[in-house]
């Protein structure tokens, strides 16, 4: 559904939301290990997520690391997709036509249009916090690769 890059981003954000706070920041090594992602590559992704303070925050130096504000935790999962530039994928035509629309639909559209809003809602209605809480409650995990 998404690129590996975005999968790492989602798992990292959920992990940071679950385990980190401004008082207890998480380091790159910790995060990469927890979500089973390549360390240096994850660093690049965390940079993206930090840029402009959109999703997560970071502090350099001893005691530094990554965390996410209570406010940002309320963001929909889709905001992570957006930062990674993959929220457009949710609107894509199944057959690769330029636009997925009623005006010039592909032959999959009639059936797909019933499901598409459900998929989009999946990422709109769930917040980062909700997913983190799921993991904290022991109902799910992000480390089992």
């Amino acid at each position: 559904m998404f690129s590996k890059t975005t999968e790492y981003a989602l798992r990292a954000v959920i992990y940071i939301a679950q385990k980190g706070t401004e008082e207890n920041k998480l380091g790159l090594a910790d995060i990469a290990k927890a979500i089973h992602s390549p360390r240096s590559f994850t660093a690049k992704i965390l940079q993206q997520l930090t840029a402009g303070g959109k999703i997560i925050s970071s502090v350099r130096g001893p005691g530094g690391g990554f965390y996410i504000s209570a406010k940002a935790k309320k963001l929909p999962v889709r905001s992570v997709l957006s930062v990674m530039g993959e929220d457009v994928k949710l609107e894509k035509c199944v057959l690769g036509l330029k636009h997925c629309s009623e005006e010039k639909p592909c032959p999959m559209h009639a059936s797909y249009k019933l499901i598409k809003p459900l998929i989009i809602d999946l990422f709109e209605s769930k917040t980062i916090e909700m997913l983190a809480n799921e993991v904290s409650a022991g109902k799910s995990n992000i480390g089992n690769l």
Copy 2:
């Protein structure tokens, strides 16, 4: 959702099902133009779809080209995904965990599991023929890029 390669494959198969017959085979140039795909790249894809006579058939030489048997037209769209090696994508975990399952679910799973079977059914229940008929009836198209 799928790779460009698979999108081309899907559009090509639908086009062949719609316009071609064993008596009226379609040439590579025709197909590539109709579905707006790069010609030589499309040739490779058509080879894959032809291999083992799984989906489409081909004949070389003058008057040759590609066509699809009446029997193959009844195949579900998923069979095309299968030949392209992307039907596994339908089973993938949204967050990229090794397995999407109830046993070790990711935090998206609880919501996603409601939609996943609908997506799979989309490709299981629709046959190549159904999509081709949709286009023939003027209800949809595969050329509008």
